[in-house]
Symmetry: C2
């Protein structure tokens, strides 16, 4: 008989009344008397469990009643409706086959564990309620992002992970090499001979696929990346990981306003999709992780995001009367405390801050007419601060070249990037969404280590 | 006025008759007389161009008629149906605005270029017909894969890129480090002090996410990965790149037959989806790149894939009377020539070969009752050879540990992988699909360098 998934049990519900079915999964809880027993079974296809009821008529009653938590079993039985119970139905087992036993040493017992401890058993934590919910939402949100862009005809581009260039001109990067570190190849003058390395030159892990995505936007018009990016920053915070996934759309014949429209539509789409596809998980987060979560997310769905310039934002912060740890003045970068104050206290909804001083932004951002600010945008959201950073790109060859020189970058490293401005360049814009930050925003989880399956941080690359 | 995408022009067709519209894009070809001109415009949203017609009434007629190929322009005009022409409609321009000029030095002129040359301008080649088709198919196929698995409730898991372990126990890997190679940290005994490295130990780029995916399959039942993987093999072939994307589904409560069913469904789904979504591109490949392509792919859709054991396959090869470069005997790994002969000549459709000798397969594959073969499967397809490799995993703790020892692997490196067999382990299986190989199969492109946006191969990491 074909196995029925618990997801489908809850979908079909009473249609299956009194039918003989097979389910399989893992024991979440188990209790038994001398004559009957109850098992809460989870099969991974759904957040909720189903209750299995069995009695002494079961041929292996003794053995089943002694099974440890996490044991894998296959049940044949009848689905009966239980209108007066907490759950809408249960399964009266006629046979229970043991697929794989667990032991009492199973580290994920019913009691509450700290998040820190659960990180040490990252191979088992997706079996807990919290991480089952986190990683299903992560999967569904990833798909929502693909669906959003593909439904709009965007081309998904896989930009390179190993790169010979540093897109941002600033990131701390991981070196990639096949050279034997115990026996490095040296040239005659005693220098490291990188020509001997796999790629014949120094290579690193990418910090952004933006520059390569721009080449595709000038061919396909609307494109996006979705892939891993890396920062070798020696910072041990709740919001930073060395390896994280990023989404970087890039659109041609488009300016900063088009860019903000796209980002706003995308954020709302992701929230809406996850609320619709993961109602049980989202209810769980709202009850157990972050009490205001659902209100906050549904509020975002119905809000028009605010759009203010950096100059206006600085004025608003200065006039707020609030004292901040970092001083607020025109020319200073906004800190998380400022960002959160803007979105949580002053505007009480997501805020795009635009047109930042050129000194605190990247070389590729488009110079505004004032010659002091660039067409940048950051999206700030309550509870997180910066969720998205983007800009209109400098499409004017001379101005871009000028900025490359001003920033002390090497013109020859950007030959192909510059050529995009020579051969049919257009206005274009794009942004980066940190996927993990989006998941934290969606779930209320407070530490990036708890929204990545196997996080990589300073001194930690387990599993 | 809002811009209409060329994709939508072809979708709506005659509904737009005589309407005033705005289109924008890049000039593919241009010719003009003293009084009128024609432009083939491509806007990246569709494989086909649209024809723009203008005449001397255009205020900037002179300037427009001199524009170089690849220049970006914005046209306002009227859509008129042209039932007698090659294309169903054209646009009579009333204004043409120049968004970004190109120059006669534009490297991608109308004439035929070699694939080798086009690789040197990877930032421009997506603007050519061939690469526009390749990279749109790549994007659509990626989405097809996500859609296939998500529609079936699979959880998408991001397995780590930077890893402290070597999943296959065999791959040649790229080292990842933040140590200064010019000044490596040494411990007192003169050894490299890896404790000083970013992660406090030696780390490499992943060759497979399978082992981590298994941890998720034993929580969510049905999961898949889709991410970049790396091989530092010094091999310069048409089928190998140092960086490539891989899809690795993993299913619990499932055996080798379930695994083959899934792989067959997936391959057919991808082909079907791409044929449906990219008819123009596929027609182009069939006409210009690989004459038999469409026949071959539609034949696959209607075939039941063959399933034979390795032992049967070896017998069939031996009895074929064909002479091969590499000898065929029981115990030898199948070479590409053997694989292609099986699928192209003997069976004439996709073939699963199963149950390989344990000596030529990985430690984690499930031992068969004969104690000589393991429950492995490779999917061979015409024109390519191996497209998919997979297996049922060894779920029996003692047998797995035994194989780890036999292969000379370190037990402590696999503590968490072994624990999956202790705590509610189940039968489970999975496979890996090389995404680039799938794209070669779908498009008929013969070199992996031409299906990756910016390929990374030996001595090559440009862009």
């Amino acid at each position: 008989m074909k196995t029925t998934y618990i997801r489908d049990l809850y979908k079909k519900g009473s249609d299956l009344e009194d039918q003989e079915i097979v389910v399989s999964g893992w024991i979440r809880t188990s209790r038994a008397s001398k004559t009957f027993g109850f098992i809460e079974l989870n099969d991974g296809t759904y957040f909720k469990n189903v209750q299995i009821v069995y009695d002494e008529n079961l041929s292996n009653f003794e053995a089943v009643s002694k099974l440890s938590i996490a044991s894998a079993i296959i049940i044949q039985g009848k689905l009966v409706l239980t209108p007066d119970a907490k759950q809408p139905f249960e399964i009266l087992a006629t046979t229970i086959e043991v697929e794989g036993e667990s032991t009492p040493e199973y580290p994920l017992q019913k009691k509450r564990h700290t998040m820190e401890y659960l990180r040490t058993i990252a191979h088992l934590r997706p079996r807990s309620n919290t991480f089952s919910a986190v990683f299903r939402v992560r999967s569904v949100a990833a798909y929502a992002i693909h669906k959003f862009f593909q439904d709009r005809g965007f081309v998904y581009v896989h930009t390179p992970i190993i790169t010979g260039s540093d897109a941002e001109g600033a990131g701390q990067m991981f070196r990639v090499t096949t050279m034997d570190l115990e026996n490095l190849p040296m040239s005659d003058n005693g220098q490291l001979d990188v020509a001997e390395d796999f790629f014949g030159k120094e290579t690193n892990l990418t910090v952004s696929g933006q520059l390569e995505a721009e080449t595709f936007a000038l061919a396909f018009r609307d494109v996006y990346t979705f892939g891993p990016t890396f920062r070798a920053e020696n910072s041990n915070t709740k919001r930073h990981a060395a390896e994280f996934w990023m989404i970087e759309p890039e659109i041609a014949f488009a300016d900063l306003n088009d860019n903000m429209d796209l980002a706003e539509d995308m954020v709302k789409y992701i929230i809406d999709y996850v609320l619709e596809q993961c109602p049980e998980e989202m209810k769980f987060f709202n009850e157990r992780i972050d009490k205001g979560l659902l209100d906050r997310l549904t509020h975002v769905l119905s809000s028009d995001f605010v759009r203010v310039t950096y100059t206006e934002a600085v004025e608003a912060l200065k006039n707020s009367g609030e004292t901040f740890e970092f001083p607020v003045f025109w020319g200073a970068d906004l800190q998380t405390e400022h960002e959160r104050y803007l979105t949580e206290v002053i505007y009480k909804k997501p805020v795009f801050v635009t047109d930042y001083p050129k000194e605190i932004k990247s070389f590729y951002m488009r110079m505004n007419a004032d010659q002091k600010t660039v067409a940048a945008m950051d999206l700030l959201v309550p509870g997180i601060g910066e969720l998205i950073g983007g800009s209109q790109r400098e499409e004017r060859y001379d101005l871009l070249l000028n900025r490359i020189h001003e920033m002390g970058l090497q013109e020859e490293d950007y030959w192909w990037y510059l050529e995009l401005r020579k051969f049919g360049g257009t206005r274009h814009a794009g942004y980066g969404l940190g996927f993990e930050r989006m998941i934290m925003y969606l779930t209320g989880m407070g530490n990036i280590r708890d929204v990545v399956p196997f996080p990589r941080t300073v001194k930690n690359a387990e599993f």
